[in-house]
Subunit: 321 residues, 2 copies
Amino acid sequence: MTNLKTDAAYELFEGLIRGSRPHLSRAISYVENGAPGAAELLSHAYKARKGAMLTGVTGSPGVGKSTLVDGIVSELRKAGHTVGVIAVDPSSPFTGGAILGDRVRMRQGHSLDQGVFFRSLATRGHLGGLSRHTGDVVALLDAFGFDHIVIETVGAGQSEVDIMRYAHTVVVALAPGLGDDMQAIKAGILEIGDVFCVNKADLPGAERTRRDIEMMLAMREPGGWTPPVVSSVAVAGKGLEGLVGEVLRHQTYLVSSGLLRERNRGSSTAVLEEYLHLLTVGKVMESASRDGSLDAALDDLVEGKSGPMEMAERLLRRYRE
Amino acid sequence: MTNLKTDAAYELFEGLIRGSRPHLSRAISYVENGAPGAAELLSHAYKARKGAMLTGVTGSPGVGKSTLVDGIVSELRKAGHTVGVIAVDPSSPFTGGAILGDRVRMRQGHSLDQGVFFRSLATRGHLGGLSRHTGDVVALLDAFGFDHIVIETVGAGQSEVDIMRYAHTVVVALAPGLGDDMQAIKAGILEIGDVFCVNKADLPGAERTRRDIEMMLAMREPGGWTPPVVSSVAVAGKGLEGLVGEVLRHQTYLVSSGLLRERNRGSSTAVLEEYLHLLTVGKVMESASRDGSLDAALDDLVEGKSGPMEMAERLLRRYRE
């Protein structure tokens, strides 16, 4: 590892691999802030990954995702696994970090447990669903050596599709009484779930929500993995063992069927595309912004003097020269 | 327009500009399917845009967005405006188009009205929030000559941030009783709204939802536009006039403050980045996939023999040579 030129990056990588939590925390901030040695640190972290299992948990606001994730973590700990948690938070700039207060509080149950590490990532300002750094932070946690990594994301849109690209197992959390269930199904949520969990199962309508999902799932092509539907009351600690059991069963299935490698290739494709975007679109936009050609290009586009394809070609040519 | 080399593209563009709805429909399919002349058709459409006002409507599943959009369309029609509607549907592959049944039914109220055009766009298979074609379809509708274009999107995640990049005015729809309101606020929904609408305002808790939003909005930096909060019961046709009044007032504000040009530059930036992505990342991945180097690259990444940055640089070098 002597080719880590930047001293700070070297120290962080070294500490991380050694299992130092303060180094891991600082390494994540280092990457989030785009520090000078970040690329080098990440290059080593990606190669030092130990093969953690990755579980994504997603669902609409109000289904009790944070509590559910807490419960999943507890169950994984009982089974002797160490767990790193990434919560992707599309935070608001004017409410700041304060709104995360309750989330942090919920995590206090694990705060003294050295086998659990929790980190929030903001998506603010990044395009493409998850935080731009999600893949990178997963690599850091994996190089650190957690057995399991759980990614929690809010929303019923693109972030689910993106999370699927990174996770081995996607848990879709639902709850009864969240309006029109068909709407959730419209949101394409069914197609990405490996395990479905009807949380708040003590509320009226839970059985119906469960039946609706099962009916929709029955319309899928048979063969391969049949996504199970489990029920839980996460605040009361109910149903979590069953949920985690299904997650682990799915991961065993991925290994035995050879699909694990497919999923890993999928997440590598996602990461590769992100890096290519940085190296191409990112550089072209940066250079065009610096020399004023972006400004002129936007004026032309707004005024309809040029179309976006011609303009993209022109900026690209200019950048390459 | 004689430089439209492809006959089909020429005919489509010509028909579209002339105001033929069948040509508009076919032009959209042409673009969605990536037909050979699509780039040329779009290049002309972008330059022929007439400056429609763009309103985005977003909110979690269950708030009654489709009904609300229908109501907005009716109000705009009453005011004498023509309206094009794009509904972005993250549709499921195994439930197919069938789940859109109710949505289509809802639109039948406008189906005989030549001043309204409705189109669903699937996001399936595309990265980056909205359908990759959203900007392009907006350009087609704008070139056709609609006074207003309404984009409806589902979700509480990245798609909202993306819609903000295209719309002049973003309407955030909420409803009482959709679980934890703070969760919606966490989802960053507050920061993107120009107009807030508490729909289903006849349900218990509506007043509280409204107060919560107003309280959060009061924490914003003062100055500029203060987002109004309106109430509606869209299924009963209540509150829609007030809602559309606020949308139009926001658009008048954008014009008088000069911010309209800023928003147009923002959406041009989004479109430009998409085209640059196609021309760079798209081409590199395509070429690497063709010659087998992508396959080898993914193997190396999965096995930890290489990091994504090195690999992205290698593929890019190879592509350029």
